[in-house]
């Protein structure tokens, strides 16, 4: 068991013939992910890597191959449209890797998501989702992962790798790792993913990695307190970030004194999560909680 993706997942890659799309589609296939289709408008009929059929539209790709999950590498100007196309074609999971989508576009996408039950969006501006040993969808380095029972959910890509690297080094495997992305308006948030981890019998503990900006970590804290009995270790990046400056991610900004790391750390600790004192202690913090 795991959450969101597994051996059975049939993946369609939007933007499969582009630079990032082709590179990572190949990596995913090498990892063992079941990539069944690709989409690039006007390139329909081609075969990617000699075996994966390319279609002009997502609708056609889904119809022909039964793909249920889309992974999007379309550049920012067309990325929101690509998400809408995947939703309309009936994909139940849409994972958008693209960084730099205008927030106005994402506001519209969110509205469509709210009115389309049964569809989940992960990202944008995220590394993707991996269930180690079974299915890798996105851009994370597969080899640092190890199959096991810890769920990882994070707003940051490389900081997720850092946490996974620490877990694997301690011999602790992961059930599923979900990068929810660094944008201010996006798909699944911490609460959505924690809900799935709590319900997944194969996940025994969670590492949650947040950062400055917004109120998603505070909402997660409330959920952890009220609904979770699995241990949650957390880290919040940006304790030293100055106010009003965008720290790389579009969503990582302290605005009007709100969204500071201190507030988030306090909320999580009050909820019973344990916050790692440094980013080097994420796995060790969880390990200490699991032993109890």
């Amino acid at each position: 068991m795991s959450i969101l993706v597994g051996k059975q997942t049939k993946v369609l890659v939007q933007g499969i013939t582009g630079g990032a799309g082709s590179f990572h589609a190949k990596q995913m296939m090498e990892y063992g992910t079941n990539v069944v289709a690709g989409v690039t408008p006007t390139r329909g009929g081609e075969k990617f890597e000699g075996k994966v059929p390319v279609f002009d539209t997502v609708a056609r790709g889904v119809k022909e191959t039964g793909a249920d999950t889309s992974c999007i590498f379309v550049p920012p100007p067309g990325a929101a449209d690509a998400i809408l196309e995947a939703i309309d074609a009936g994909c139940s999971l849409v994972i958008c890797i693209t960084e730099g989508i205008p927030v106005m576009d994402m506001i519209k996408v969110r509205k469509v998501l709210e009115t389309t039950p049964g569809v989940r969006l992960v990202g944008p501006n995220c590394p993707g989702v991996i269930t180690p040993g079974a299915c890798k969808i996105g851009i994370m380095p597969g080899h640092i992962h190890k199959a096991g029972h810890i769920g990882v959910v994070s707003r940051s890509g490389t900081l997720t790798y850092e946490a996974v690297g620490q877990l694997t080094a301690l011999g602790i495997g992961q059930s599923t790792c979900v990068g929810i992305g660094g944008d201010p308006v996006s798909g699944m948030d911490f609460v959505d993913v924690l809900t799935l981890f709590q319900a997944d019998p194969d996940t025994h503990g969670v590492i949650m990695i947040g950062e400055i900006g917004g109120g998603a970590e505070e909402r997660a804290a409330k959920f952890i307190k009220e609904k979770m009995n699995k241990p949650v270790a957390a880290f919040i990046a940006g304790t030293t970030a100055p106010e009003g400056k965008r720290m790389g991610h579009a969503g990582a900004i302290i605005a009007g004194g709100k969204g500071t790391a201190a507030e988030k750390i306090a909320a999580l600790e009050a909820a019973g999560a344990r916050v790692a004192p440094t980013p080097s202690d994420m796995a060790a913090t969880l390990q200490a909680m699991m032993k109890k």
Binding site: I107, T158, T160, V185, G238, T240, M247, S280
Partner: protein
């Protein structure tokens, strides 16, 4: 991206948000000419001279002055403000040099209100906030008297509805100024919303929004921030950008496709990924706070940087006089460790390495990366983990400053 008040007001005008008459001025003579034009056009001797910098709180800092004696006084005030180092709560203690002015007609106002629009992250919608506490910082009002802030959320498919504008208008008590004022406010709201969406704003503020004695509603101030992600569909933003308001190193980084933010500390950081870059700052501060060691910058070279970008990034760090040591922290995923290592070595060779360098490499092609570093002949201290690297760089700075 931020723009000046006068530029925001030009957009207000374009979309139909009423503004006072006014003209920008870059020199003293231009300021005088603008004042003369205003006095002629408005038949009033009252002219306002406003410093144009990107930070807020200009009035309190002495950057906004009212000339009641017409052109001569306007020129005198302009002389004082133009070129001054304006210090506000948003500029930092060093302040910001005033290079541009906005000369505006003075208006007899009845009431000052606040109107703002932001992207609300919790509801994932555009939120309009209005308050009777015009002229005050909205954060302060939100903290002290939250009940005085009225908010409406706009459905992105439906757009702003007239009833929502009425809700704000009656909430502000605008009917007291006559029923026409309610209608004028609703019209202003519609224009404001259209501007926000079409111009891809992330924040738009009118503080104060004033009601005049004749019942008109006018934007006395204007602040607009754009969503950087939408730059690809707004070529005109380049003409609105005032590079003198931006940190030159941050601007250079932006052109090189790097994310860079200047900080006050003494350890230069080169990291891949925004979250890891922030976490690297945090861990340096964690181990260094009692020894006077802190990060000098946030620098994310991104996931797909090439060797030239890494070289460029490393050079930017090396150039800063405040940097006493450098910490390179890489968890290579897409970014390969050998690419980072080659970039670092190339930059260090070209500029010479005169501060301690601690490198922590992990991930794809890590062995190759470490080999490149160790064979470079450069004095590089290798670290095994983030904590190990942070401790080593803190020790190096403490050692160097002894």
């Amino acid at each position: 991206m931020k723009i000046h008040e006068y530029q925001a007001k030009q957009l207000f005008l374009k979309y139909g948000v009423p503004i006072p008459k006014g003209y920008p001025a870059f020199t003293l003579d231009e300021a005088e000419a603008a004042a003369k034009r205003l006095v002629d056009e408005t038949k009033s001797e009252v002219v306002v001279v406003k410093a144009q910098i990107h930070a807020g709180g200009r009035g309190k800092g002495g950057g906004v002055k009212v000339a009641k004696g017409g052109v001569k006084e306007a020129r005198e005030l302009s002389q004082k403000i133009l070129g001054m180092q304006l210090v506000t709560h948003q500029t930092g203690p060093e302040g910001q040099k005033v290079r541009r002015l906005y000369i505006e007609q003075g208006l007899a106002m009845e009431r000052e209100l606040y109107l703002g629009a932001v992207v609300d992250r919790d509801t994932r919608r555009i939120a309009f906030m209005a308050s009777t506490e015009g002229g005050m910082e909205i954060e302060k009002v939100a903290a002290e008297t939250p009940e005085k802030i009225l908010t409406v959320f706009v459905d992105p498919i439906v757009g702003l509805s007239a009833y929502q504008s009425r809700q704000l208008a009656f909430g502000l008590g605008l009917e007291k100024h006559g029923k026409e004022t309610v209608g004028k406010f609703a019209k202003l709201m519609a224009a404001f919303y259209e501007l926000f969406v079409k111009e891809d704003c992330s924040l738009c503020e009118i503080n104060p929004l004033v009601v005049l004695k004749n019942g008109d509603v006018v934007a006395l101030d204007g602040k607009i921030n754009f969503d950087d992600n939408a730059e690809f569909r707004h070529k005109e933003w380049e003409t609105l950008r005032d590079v003198e308001e931006e940190d030159p190193i941050e601007l250079e980084a932006k052109h090189a496709g790097l994310n860079y933010v200047s900080l006050d500390g003494n350890v230069g950081c080169l990291v891949n990924g925004a979250g890891l870059a922030m976490a690297t700052m945090d861990i340096i501060k964690h181990f260094g706070k009692d020894r006077g060691v802190a990060p000098a910058n946030f620098l994310d070279v991104g996931g797909g940087a090439n060797q030239e970008q890494v070289t460029k990034a490393f050079k930017m760090i090396l150039r800063s006089p405040k940097v006493k040591a450098i910490f390179v922290n890489i968890f290579g995923g897409i970014m390969k460790c050998d690419v980072i290592a080659s970039g670092v070595v190339a930059a260090a060779r070209e500029l010479g390495l005169n501060v301690p360098l601690v490198v922590r490499l992990e991930g794809t092609n890590v062995d190759l990366g470490r080999k490149i570093l160790s064979e470079s002949g450069l004095k590089i201290e290798a670290a095994t983990t983030m904590a190990d690297g942070a401790k080593k760089v803190v020790a190096a700075v403490a050692e160097a400053s002894r």
